[in-house]
């Protein structure tokens, strides 16, 4: 580190001596790092502003305008959109549904993923194969795989209804039922997420200090005792991280809603992000879409900030040492 600085100073010194009037050259040598950083960063940050920074900033403001239809010119209306958001059950229900549906998906995915990780952590032959098989749904395209689910749920010629019919039972019109709609959204989300959860838990399990298990064994703990007194306390910081990131992702679920129920029947399976899409691209109520986005963003940011606050303050209290992964 220092070497570089000294070398640069030395070079700067000699060049000053040799090329006294070369102000630009001297500047270039003295600020070599900053100039190189600028050459690399300025274009990258410019494009980042175009596709990410500016739209995000714009997104924070959009909710404060009445803006219906692309051709319309926006009118500043203050908090009107937000007042409407909390007055209309359409929006509050969608928000509430995002939260409990996200919570439900997170709970099922993480619990089953944890069970799978415990099994994958055993010295089984071919556990690498199991890991891959479980992870595959995570790398598939949501659009493609929801269509396969739809093929199962087709009213007239769907796989499940064909089975029901062959058993002499009445076919189910899934699309007419809120309960089934939610059920399939949850099934799809868990199907897609469980492998990823298992891998995260597995990385967590492997980071728990092995000597603690041996110590617990010496103290006479059985499998359950080890799980209860070593694994779970040892996982606590990692578990919080996994729960928080999964929850943040799950409350923003909307693709499976879009492609499995499309919000129906009667908007009873709409979640907030789906509502944003609907407002924005169907009704062109850009102001309301902006207000909903801002509310979703604030929820996510609050969860994140609370988590970081918690994790930095609790690090010192962690009694069980966690090996750094990687």
């Amino acid at each position: 580190m220092n070497l570089d600085g000294k070398a640069a100073e030395m070079r700067a010194g000699t060049s000053e001596y040799l090329l006294a009037p070369g102000k630009w050259k001297r500047f270039k040598i003295r600020h070599r790092d900053a100039l190189l950083a600028a050459v690399i960063l300025v274009p990258m940050i410019f494009f980042w502003l175009v596709v990410s920074g500016f739209p995000t900033l714009f997104g924070f403001l959009l909710g404060f305008f009445r803006w219906i239809g692309l051709a319309d010119s926006p009118k500043f209306t203050g908090l009107d959109n937000f007042v409407r958001f909390f007055k209309e059950p359409m929006y509050t229900h969608a928000l509430w549904r995002s939260i409990w549906l996200g919570g439900l998906v997170t709970a099922i995915t993480l619990l089953s993923g944890f069970g799978a990780a415990l099994l994958m952590n055993m010295p089984l032959r071919g556990k690498g194969v199991y890991r891959s098989i479980w992870y595959i749904p995570a790398i598939t395209s949501t659009v493609a795989t929801t269509q396969i689910f739809n093929l199962f749920l087709d009213t007239n010629n769907g796989v499940i209804n064909n089975i029901l019919k062959s058993l002499g039972k009445e076919p189910i019109v899934w699309q007419y039922s809120v309960g089934w709609g939610i059920f399939w959204i949850v099934v799809y989300s868990v199907w897609k997420g469980v492998g990823n959860a298992a891998l995260l838990w597995l990385a967590g399990l492997q980071s728990v200090d092995h000597s603690l298990y041996e110590a617990a064994a010496v103290d006479g703990a059985g499998s359950y005792g080890k799980l209860r007194h070593v694994t779970i306390p040892g996982l606590k910081p990692i578990a919080t991280y996994i729960v928080i990131t999964s929850l943040i992702a799950a409350i923003q679920i909307y693709e499976q809603v879009l492609f499995i129920t499309n919000g129906g029947p009667y908007g009873k399976t709409e979640v907030l992000v789906f509502r944003i899409y609907r407002d924005g691209f169907w009704d062109f109520n850009l102001g309301m879409a902006g207000a909903s986005s801002l509310i979703m963003a604030i929820i996510v940011i609050v969860i994140t900030v609370l988590y970081y606050g918690w994790s930095t303050s609790s690090d010192r209290k962690t009694t069980i040492p966690i090996k750094k992964g990687g």
Partner: protein, 311 residues
């Protein structure tokens, strides 16, 4: 450390088939097969002729009477139903383009923040990282508006009049050179473990910055670069949002966005859904993704452990 020494000194117990292990095998295998089932179904359905598929009652395990490779051939050679080859080409192009840029911007960004010294570096990096906690959902509608009102493009005078860059290739191209914040973060972390003396030694030997970057440092970052490349490639390959929201013409669709147009949920009620075509397109998306995954899964598992679990 001491415990490790003790452990390695002791002979390792051979994995015996204990009841618990048997249970583990059974659950992991059975549930694993259930998880794979929709994909197995998709691949089996791929061997059906269109007539047989539409005519037959779809079963739990569809087995074609006259297996055909027609669906797979259609991906490469095209079909009369839809511009499948165009979709495939667009998907491939987008994926290669985004991945190439992600590798370059992550590496250069990581280098700048790990190696160079300039004023405000830490603040700038923190600012970039902080923006990552803002959900991307908030930007979807504003991005649409920005693209629609892109100055002087697509018939816009300054901001209005035309359709901007909506429904053009620019929608796919413009994000390429943008800094990849997550990738930058990962490369920065990984580069900070490489001793600075390595750069110095190379410079003493007469290597320029460019050579230090690409001949000395880049090869050392291959595992993390592989992770960034694979996640970007899979993400772009599966992405339907960009074409779905910001394009309209058929020539610009990718495999996933082409499926959205056939989706039963979005079709008008009572419309006959073209499932054979959906199956063809789904195979076209899923099989390459699975191949990439099988070849590079080591990096995905490693990368997940590195990014997810930071202790």
């Amino acid at each position: 450390m001491a415990s490790n020494a003790i452990r390695s000194a002791r002979p390792k117990p051979k994995p015996k088939l204990k009841p618990a292990h048997l249970f583990g095998h059974a659950v992991l295998l059975l549930v694993g097969l259930v998880l794979l089932y929709p994909l197995i179904f998709m691949i089996m359905a791929g061997f059906f002729t269109k007539q047989e598929f539409l005519g037959s009652v779809i079963k739990l395990f569809p087995i074609p009477k006259e297996p055909t490779l027609e669906n797979f051939r259609a991906l490469v050679q095209g079909t009369t139903d839809a511009a499948v080859t165009t979709y495939l080409r667009n998907s491939l192009f987008r994926t290669v383009y985004s991945t190439a840029w992600a590798i370059l911007t992550s590496f250069l960004g990581g280098y700048v923040f790990a190696r160079l010294r300039f004023k405000g570096k830490d603040q700038l990096f923190l600012l970039l990282l902080a923006t990552q906690m803002i959900p991307t959902t908030i930007a979807i509608i504003p991005t649409y508006l920005e693209f629609a009102r892109f100055p002087f493009m697509g018939g816009n005078d300054v901001f209005t009049g035309g359709k901007g860059i909506l429904d053009t290739w620019w929608v796919y191209l413009i994000g390429g050179p943008a800094i990849n914040v997550m990738g930058t973060f990962l490369v920065k972390q990984s580069l900070e473990k490489v001793p600075f003396e390595l750069d110095e030694a190379a410079k003493m030997d007469g290597a320029g910055t460019f050579r230090v970057l690409f001949q000395i440092l880049f090869p050392l970052q291959l595992p993390i670069m592989a992770f960034i490349a694979i996640t970007t490639a899979l993400g772009t390959w599966n992405d339907f949002i960009t074409p779905f929201f910001y394009t309209n013409s058929d020539a610009l669709q990718t495999l996933p966005s082409a499926i959205t147009r056939l989706s039963s949920a979005l079709a008008s009620p009572g419309a006959v859904v073209n499932y054979p075509l959906i199956i063809t397109l789904s195979l076209g998306i899923t099989i390459p993704a699975m191949i990439i995954f099988f070849f590079f899964q080591k990096y995905i598992v490693q990368g997940l452990a590195n990014t997810g679990i930071k202790g």
